[in-house]
């Protein structure tokens, strides 16, 4: 077996070295005029980032600078349940969704007409606007007259639960809705990543007698690992900022037990007119977000990531 795998490994080893040689050196050094060009090209991006991203972020940190705010925040009865919800929501929705997307991208690699057609249908949820889709989810799941419970009753004779009467069921609904919305997007990204793997690597592995599972664990997964990590971290960061799911799908029901940090900080700031504590609620997510962003920055610096 060790001997048999060697041709795959040769290609795997040969490629990064090859890339490395191409990227280092041989690039004509930039002259001053060209540096000016580069600065001019980057200027619009930096302007938007500063004006609408970094400056508001700095203002937010300034607004939430007083330790007393956090004492007040932690004493809020809604805060700790919301933290639990957020961690559950982000942790489950992101990881389940990303892993499913990784596996499904393998399924969609098959070049058969019906799978290609299915991919088009599968991508549609990503193009349906969030607000509308989540309102539809809300009605689909509301009480015993919603579509889901009616289908369960009429087709299968099952008495479905009242989804939004139970905190954990309502949270599960949020997680499913959020995954429904974003699964196609990440599947497409992984699909593009898989297509970028040169076919000779997969062919070599097949010739060496690796079956589907082995090809996945030994060849495609190691090659996709960096992409997978980067995407998971990005999805986590975006998951923390997600407002629409908790606001529209469960609507915080039953009685404010399914809020996430995003909806809670919105509620503090705009419904209760306490902007500082609203910002503090969001800033309290920083201990989780800073390490994620640091890993993300490091990972994106590595040269051999493929997409």
């Amino acid at each position: 077996m060790i001997d048999a795998m060697s041709s795959t490994q040769q290609i795997l080893v040969a490629r990064p070295a090859d890339d490395h040689r191409r990227q280092s050196g041989r690039r004509p050094s930039w002259r001053r005029a060209e540096l000016l060009w580069a600065a001019a090209f980057a200027a619009p991006y930096l302007t938007v980032l500063l004006g609408f991203g970094l400056y508001p972020a700095a203002v937010a940190l300034w607004m939430a600078r007083q330790p007393a705010l956090y004492a007040e925040l932690f004493a809020e009865p809604l805060y700790w349940p919301t933290v639990v919800n957020t961690l559950l929501f982000v942790g489950l929705a992101v990881n389940v969704k990303m892993f499913a997307a990784l596996l499904l991208s393998g399924f969609f690699m098959q070049r058969r007409w019906w799978i290609k057609g299915l991919l088009v249908i599968f991508v549609v949820p990503w193009f349906i606007a969030t607000v509308q889709a989540f309102i539809s989810f809300h009605w689909m799941l509301i009480g015993e007259y919603g579509l889901i419970d009616q289908v369960l009753l009429q087709l299968f004779g099952i008495d479905g639960p009242t989804w939004f009467n139970d905190r954990w069921l309502a949270l599960a609904c949020n997680i499913v809705a959020y995954s429904w919305k974003w699964l196609p997007f990440w599947t497409l990204i992984f699909l593009a990543g898989r297509r970028a793997i040169p076919s000779e690597i997969m062919d070599a592995a097949a010739v060496d007698g690796a079956d589907g599972v082995r090809r996945f664990t030994l060849v495609s997964f190691p090659l996709l690992a960096n992409l997978y990590l980067v995407c998971t971290l990005l999805a986590t960061v975006w998951g923390f900022g997600d407002f629409a799911t908790a606001y529209f799908v469960s609507g915080g029901t039953p009685v404010n037990t399914t809020n996430v940090v995003a909806t809670l900080s919105f509620r503090f700031a705009f419904d209760d007119a306490r902007p500082a504590i609203g910002v503090a609620a969001a800033v309290s997510a920083l201990p989780v977000l800073i390490p994620i962003c640091l890993v993300l920055m490091r990972r994106l610096q590595t040269r051999d990531m493929q997409l």
Binding site: A60, P125, I128, S136, L153, F266
Partner: protein, 286 residues
Amino acid sequence: MTASAAFAQPRRRRRLFVEAGSALLGLVLFVWSLTPIYNMFLIALDPEEGEIEFDGNIWPPNPSLDAFWDALSQEARYLEAFWLQFGNSLYIGLATMLLTVVVASLASFALGRLRSRLTPLLANAGLAVYLLPASCLIIPLYRIAHGYGLADTKWAVIGAQVAFAAPFAVVILQHYARLVPTELDEAARLDGASAGQLYRHIYLPLMMPALALVAAFALVVAWNDYVYQFVLLTSWRNTTVSIMQAQLFTDTDAEWNAMMAAAIVYALPPLALFVALQRYVTRLTG
């Protein structure tokens, strides 16, 4: 003969098993993807104000397109200004899409060709935007918009959306750019092409598939948005479809069918873009 047939038997059985498995998975994905959309049609096709939700129907008993007509002719309550709102949404969506593509492609071109100590700083500046949850930035942005003279303007929303979409767009573009051979632009540079010419005539054409993906991403980000629009746009003439639908959502007395019909109409522009860009996106995904 018999020996080879006996050998082929388990293989054929395994093949059949795999076939059945992928057909089943296909069916599950089909139902998973379309159920919420089916629910939208179920409500929209009901002639009786969408009360169907509470009658326990799982298919439309007497489907009619009345609700679509009510929405498009702005006759339903709440939908008096549907086309104005649709226009505002479209304006925000298209401006976000174009600006993101322009800003991110310029930046990624500079990053890809610029080898200096500033490069990582520039690349990381974008990701720093993701440090604070997006819905948290809205609170300071609400104040800052006044300072910028952008209070209650679409440009405040557009700026915020571009700031959110562009860093990811730069990540995508940079990684796709690594797959594009650099020989061509080195040759062009030796021929004395300026950076502007390189960008226009070499970088942009080669990057089309990734640019299409980025454009679709930016449009969908803007199309999905509710919070920024709700907070930053306050006057009636600036309301968008998202704001209107969220408002309707909280009214138990609303005409659900017209609202869902409007939601289906609202879903069309991104789908049209998807169809238009499919040629490029499939070059990425095969």
